[in-house]
Every structure is written in structure tokens, then in C-alpha cells.
């Protein structure tokens, strides 16, 4: 079995729940004889420097961390390049491994990743598991829209994505 784990956009703190989850999961999967290879795809500056296991291959997703706007990474909001780059990186891996009948994608949230995964699912029919950590985009948007700190053009757009892929937010 080959597993492709995808984590979200630039996470810069080493202690983040998603990173810890992936780290522990990768170490565990390494010990399973049934797992041949673990791909970890992320734009995180921290994840890329780490080899979690011998079977783990790190893939760089999208542009690197570009700073925050009220806690939200800029790359998530403004950089369409992130999505295009991420899509082609994942596509390459899936094409290279699609002959494997046991290839699984495990994505760690959220709406933005979902819009990359949707065409991948339609094109290559890869099984997908999504892990919803914490609050997701809906929570972020609620917080930021209350403070009116997100550009009004982007708020409904991201809200729409969240509603589309994770119909009930928090």
C-alpha cells in the first residue's frame, strides 16, 4: 500500500496538531509491512526539513510561506499559484503511482485542498480520506469577519468553498 498524506498550507509552528498527527502517523505506518511508501506533501517550511521515516518522501506544495494577515497565511488567500502548483505536484505523484491498486490519499483539511482533490478524484478515482482538524476555514472566517479583518471580496469566496466541501462549519 502507498499512502499520500497531504497537509495544509504553510504551518509554521512546529507544535501544530496537524504536523504532530502526520509525524506520528508516518512513524507508525513505517513499521507496518503493508505500507511501501509514504508521500508527505506540504508547503510547510518545517515539514520539508524532516524525514519522518525511511519510507517517507517529502513533496513541496505551492509557494513558500509568505507571512500572515491576521493569523491567516497570505499564500492561502491570495496566491492562486499555490493551487496550480499543488495540483500539478499531486497529479505527478498520482500518475506515477496509479498502477498501484492500493494507493490512498489522506488529506488533512480543508476547503482549499478540497478544490485540488476534487479534479484528482474525478480524473484518477483515487480513494480519499479527509481528516478534519480543529475549526477549519469556517471558524477562521467567522472570527475574521466579526473583526472585519479579511478583504470582503475573499470572505464570501472562501465561505462558499467551505460550505461546498464541508457543508456544516462551526
Amino acid at each position: 500500500m502507498k499512502v499520500l498524506m497531504i497537509t495544509r498550507h504553510p504551518i509554521f509552528e512546529l507544535l501544530g496538531g496537524v504536523q504532530q498527527y502526520i509525524k506520528t502517523l508516518a512513524k507508525f505506518l513505517e513499521r507496518k509491512n503493508e505500507i511501501d511508501k509514504i508521500f508527505i506533501a506540504s508547503s510547510s517550511i518545517n515539514l520539508k526539513t524532516r524525514k519522518f521515516s525511511k519510507k517517507n518522501i517529502f513533496l513541496k506544495l505551492g509557494p513558500k510561506y509568505q507571512g500572515l494577515i491576521d493569523g491567516v497565511p497570505k499564500a492561502m488567500i491570495f496566491n492562486i499559484g499555490y493551487l496550480i502548483d499543488s495540483f500539478f505536484t499531486l497529479r505527478k505523484i498520482i500518475i506515477e503511482n496509479r498502477n498501484e491498486d492500493s494507493f490512498i490519499i489522506h488529506s488533512h483539511e480543508s476547503a482549499l485542498l478540497a478544490i485540488i482533490l476534487l479534479p484528482i478524484k474525478l480524473l484518477y478515482k483515487s480513494p480519499i480520506v479527509i481528516t478534519q482538524h480543529g475549526i477549519g476555514w469556517y471558524g477562521y472566517l467567522k472570527l475574521h469577519s466579526e473583526r472585519k479583518s479579511i478583504n470582503i471580496v475573499f470572505t464570501p469566496f472562501l465561505f462558499f468553498l467551505e460550505k461546498l466541501f464541508f457543508p456544516i462549519g462551526r
Partner: protein, 229 residues
């Protein structure tokens, strides 16, 4: 689109259940209790590194420095505490948009606030500390709570659904609740400080079995297998 949706706590399941039903599975964040366990060696070594004396109470905040994590309220409360109690220090481990605010408080309360931006080994700081303070505006079952309990810390927390769930399942665990306001934070810290002065030196590990990495990750693997079959 997804074949399976994993949520990391029961509260999230309740939120998503209506739409996803059978697709949804609760799998808690895995905690490796071989790493998160009490260590007297780490306690002594890290406290020495940080300049914290044996008889000083070390309160720990670990996480992103952002508004939703309640760090503003914690800093304000600690500002009041230092005027009341001498032998208490606050260790902050994390980075984020409110970094500047931390620096201001650090200057103001010289020597009482220690800040570390990043760390690969959070178990060092849990072991050095006496109590973890967790404040959540959105998060339900943060991993810092079981990690801190694993290292034998007292946990001070806002009453999220998941914290209440842990508390009811493990009534003997040292989890103390406070309301999300400054006065309540001050009171709970003072309570923990008094308890610290009385407590035994030897620390006990508090394990939330359903978050034990070995059990949790077997479940993830099982999900992979069933989907592929």
C-alpha cells in the same frame, strides 16, 4: 467527494454527522505516551536551562500566539498574578501574530515570563512545568491537554465539551476549569499555585487511553484497508 471523513473529537462528529453519517469516523489525535511521560531528569535539566528554581511554580502555555488561543487573556491575568505571588513564572512556547504583545509583557515583567518560539521536543517543557493553561475559543480537544497530562501536569482549561467529556470519564485527573474571563483565570492559577506548594514531588502519568497512538493509528490503518477492499 471523500470516501471517509475522520474527525478528531465527538463534538466535531455531532457537527458533521447530519450530512455525512456513515462516512464519518471519530479518531482522536494520537499521543505517543512513550514520549509524553514524566521525567525527573528532564524536569531538573530544563528548569536549570530556563533559570527556574525548584521552589518556583512554572505555568506553561504552549501553542500559536493568536487571538483564538486566548493568549491575550492569559497575559492580562498573569500580569495581575505577578503582583500577588512571588514564586511564579510563565513559560510560553509558540510563535504567531501576537508575538509583539508577548515581548511587551516580557519586558514589563522582567524574569517572570520566558518565551521560546519553537521547539521540536515539547515534552521537555511539559516536564519542566507544573501546570498547563489551555484556553480555547474554537478548539475542543487540543492535543496539548493529553500531552500535558501524560507528563504529569495539572491542566487548567476553559470548559469545552471535550474537556468536560474527559473530566467526566476520568474524574481523578487533575483538570481544573475556569471561565474565559480574567478574574476566573487569575483565580484558577492561584488555586493551582497553592496546590503545587502542597503536592508530592513524584509525578504521576495520566493517560487518556482512547488517544494512545498505538490504538488510534491502528484505527487509521484499518480505515485505509477497508476503503481499498
Amino acid at each position: 467527494m471523500a470516501d471517509k471523513i475522520i474527525v478528531v473529537d465527538e463534538t466535531l462528529k455531532e457537527v458533521f454527522y447530519k450530512d455525512f453519517k456513515t462516512k464519518i469516523e471519530v479518531i482522536y489525535n494520537p499521543i505517543d505516551y512513550r514520549i509524553f511521560r514524566p521525567s525527573e531528569y528532564l524536569r531538573r535539566y530544563v528548569r536549570k536551562q530556563l533559570g527556574v528554581k525548584d521552589d518556583e511554580f512554572l505555568l506553561l502555555y504552549i501553542g500559536r500566539l493568536s487571538e483564538e488561543k486566548g493568549i491575550k487573556e492569559i497575559m492580562e491575568a498573569f500580569d495581575q498574578i505577578v503582583k500577588k505571588v512571588r514564586k511564579i513564572k510563565l513559560l510560553i512556547v509558540g510563535n504567531g501574530p501576537l508575538l509583539r504583545m508577548i515581548e511587551i509583557y516580557k519586558k514589563k515583567n522582567k524574569g517572570r515570563i520566558i518565551h521560546i518560539k519553537q521547539s521540536d521536543e515539547p515534552e521537555r517543557f511539559y516536564n519542566a512545568s507544573d501546570a498547563l493553561i489551555f484556553f480555547s475559543k474554537f478548539e475542543e480537544r487540543s492535543r496539548v491537554v493529553p500531552e500535558a497530562l501524560g507528563c504529569g501536569n495539572i491542566v487548567l482549561s476553559t470548559p469545552t465539551n471535550e474537556i468536560l467529556r474527559i473530566k467526566s470519564q476520568h474524574p481523578d485527573f487533575p483538570i481544573f476549569l475556569y471561565e474565559p474571563n480574567i478574574e476566573s483565570i487569575v483565580n484558577v492559577i492561584l488555586f493551582a499555585y497553592k496546590r503545587f506548594k502542597l503536592k508530592n514531588k513524584r509525578r504521576r502519568q495520566f493517560i487518556i487511553k482512547e488517544q494512545d497512538a498505538r490504538e488510534v493509528l491502528e484505527k487509521v490503518f484499518y480505515i485505509y484497508k477497508t476503503i481499498l477492499e
